[in-house]
Each structure stands twice: as structure tokens, then as C-alpha cells.
Amino acid sequence: MPKLKLEDLQKIKEKVRRETVLREGAGKAKITVHMGTCGIAAGARKIMSVILEEIEKRDVKDIIVTTSGCAGLCSREPMITVELLGKAPVKYVDLTEDKMRRIFEEHVLNGKIVKEYMLAIGSERVD
């Protein structure tokens, strides 16, 4: 077995910590904004701001907001992934501020997937 390095252990620890936070109800929803070069150029930072605005405006405590690198789907940016506790992650593409507000209200707060804005299943590998 290859020797585990300290940094590997730290990575595993961090991963476990994040997943535990989600599982233990400190976060009942997790939103990941893809913040790679293409995402940034397409307006991902504004999408992040809309999410933060919604959180400030409302009484929500249990949402985790995070960012990740490029998702390999540059033409469909800005893009987010919404993960509700115990449910499969859903990717939304070609976002605008208005679409983001609707996803926040309907999916993040009320658990109803906004199908029109969802990335069609199976199209993840298209570049």
C-alpha cells in the first residue's frame, strides 16, 4: 500500500469534515458555485453575490455556500450544484441573477428542483 502523506491525511480530514457538517444538519443544503476561469468570465461572482444577498435577506441558518474549480463545461457557465441533505446533487447551468433567485427560493428553500434550468442528465461529459 502506498504510504499516506500528511497532506493526504489533511485532505481526507477536510473532506470528512465537510461531509459531516452537511450530514449533521448544520447544513441542510449546500450550494457550490463553479469559480473557474470560464465561470468567472461568464459572471459566476455575481451569482455568488445573489446567493449571499438572499441569505442576508432571509432567516436562513443552515445553508453551506462554497466554490469549486472549473467543472469542464465552460460553454454552460455560470454553473452551480445544489445538494439537499440526503438527495442527489443537481447541476444548474447558463445561470442569470433571476434564475439564481428562483432556484434559491424553489429548490434551496422549498426542496423543489427547477427542471428548466437543470443540466440534462448524461450531458456532463459534453465539452
Partner: protein, 176 residues
């Protein structure tokens, strides 16, 4: 290409995060007397070897799977050169990386700072495990933000505290 410097900064710092940096310093200095604007991003991530540092400004290099070209650093290099400036990269494997971009402040093609606050909020909220130190200097005045002193347990409180801190920053970094 990005339309302002705050978007370049976000993209360059995302490199540091991908390099597993735990401490990232972002310095912006505006010196009107010397007609200079400089941006410095220093991280303690995994760094690059000499060969990589040489190649990284060539837009046909990347180590990331699925992508043939890396554009972030070439974009920043182009933005600085357009404004009579330059970019410098210092890096050491296992130690970290420092990217410095300088611009002629008054140059007609120098991109505006843009919304530095929005960039920092995105970085800080999106990466709670990373410490960010931001220093902004303008004509001898210094403004400072260190996230080590902030509690990150509660998102709403963190947003509140960050907004309060930014109240003390000048409008140049807030795009107001």
C-alpha cells in the same frame, strides 16, 4: 479576457486555492505619485518548479486534466503589458508562489480595479478553511483585513462582520 482587475484577482487566487494554499495574502497598492498600481498575491500552496514558472505565461500550458490551455496567468500578463506594466512570478515547490503584476496607473488601457469587495467576499465565504490577508494602500493610507480574526461558524454573522469591516474601506475597492 476579464474586464477589470478584481476578476483577474479572483481567478489568480483560485489557482492558489487549487494549489492547496492555507494562507493567502492579497496586496493592492495605488501610488499616484509614482504613477503605479501593483497587485501582489502570495500563497503557501504547493508551488511550481522553474520549468513550470517559465511555461506558465505561455497560454498553451496546463496541468489540469481535461484542459489544454491555461488562460488565467496569460490574461493577467496581457492586462499589465497593455498598461505599460509587467508580471513577475516567484515560486518554489513545497513553499508557495508569489505573483506580482504592475501597471502604469494613469495608462489609458489600465483596467479599473472593479469590485474588489465582491471578489474578497466570494473568496472568503467560498473557502472558509483558508486564511486571507488583504492589504490595500492608497497614497500612504493603509487598510487591512485578516480573516484569521473572524469566526466562521455562522454564515450570516460572518457576512455581517465582513460588511462592517468593508464600511471602513474606501469606495475605490467597493465599486460604489
Amino acid at each position: 479576457m476579464f474586464e477589470d482587475l478584481s476578476l483577474h484577482i479572483l481567478d489568480i487566487v483560485e489557482n492558489s486555492i487549487r494549489a492547496e494554499a492555507k494562507n493567502i495574502k492579497i496586496k493592492i497598492t495605488e501610488n499616484l505619485e509614482k504613477d503605479l498600481l501593483s497587485i501582489e498575491i502570495e500563497d503557501d500552496g504547493k508551488g511550481m518548479n522553474e520549468e513550470m514558472v517559465k511555461k506558465v505565461l505561455d497560454p498553451f500550458v496546463t496541468t489540469k486534466s481535461g484542459h489544454k490551455v491555461g488562460l488565467g496567468l496569460p490574461f493577467l500578463a496581457q492586462a499589465s503589458k497593455m498598461a505599460n506594466g509587467n508580471i513577475f512570478i516567484k515560486s518554489k515547490p513545497g513553499k508557495g508562489t508569489k505573483i506580482t503584476a504592475v501597471f502604469q496607473h494613469s495608462h489609458i488601457d489600465r483596467q479599473p480595479l472593479g469590485d474588489i469587495k465582491e471578489t474578497l467576499m466570494t473568496l472568503i465565504i467560498g473557502n472558509p478553511e483558508v486564511n486571507f490577508i488583504f492589504t490595500y494602500r492608497r497614497n500612504g493610507k493603509k487598510y487591512h483585513l485578516d480573516t484569521k480574526k473572524l469566526s466562521k461558524n455562522n454564515l450570516k454573522n460572518l457576512l455581517n462582520n465582513l460588511n462592517k469591516i468593508f464600511e471602513n474601506f474606501p469606495r475605490e475597492v467597493k465599486n460604489e
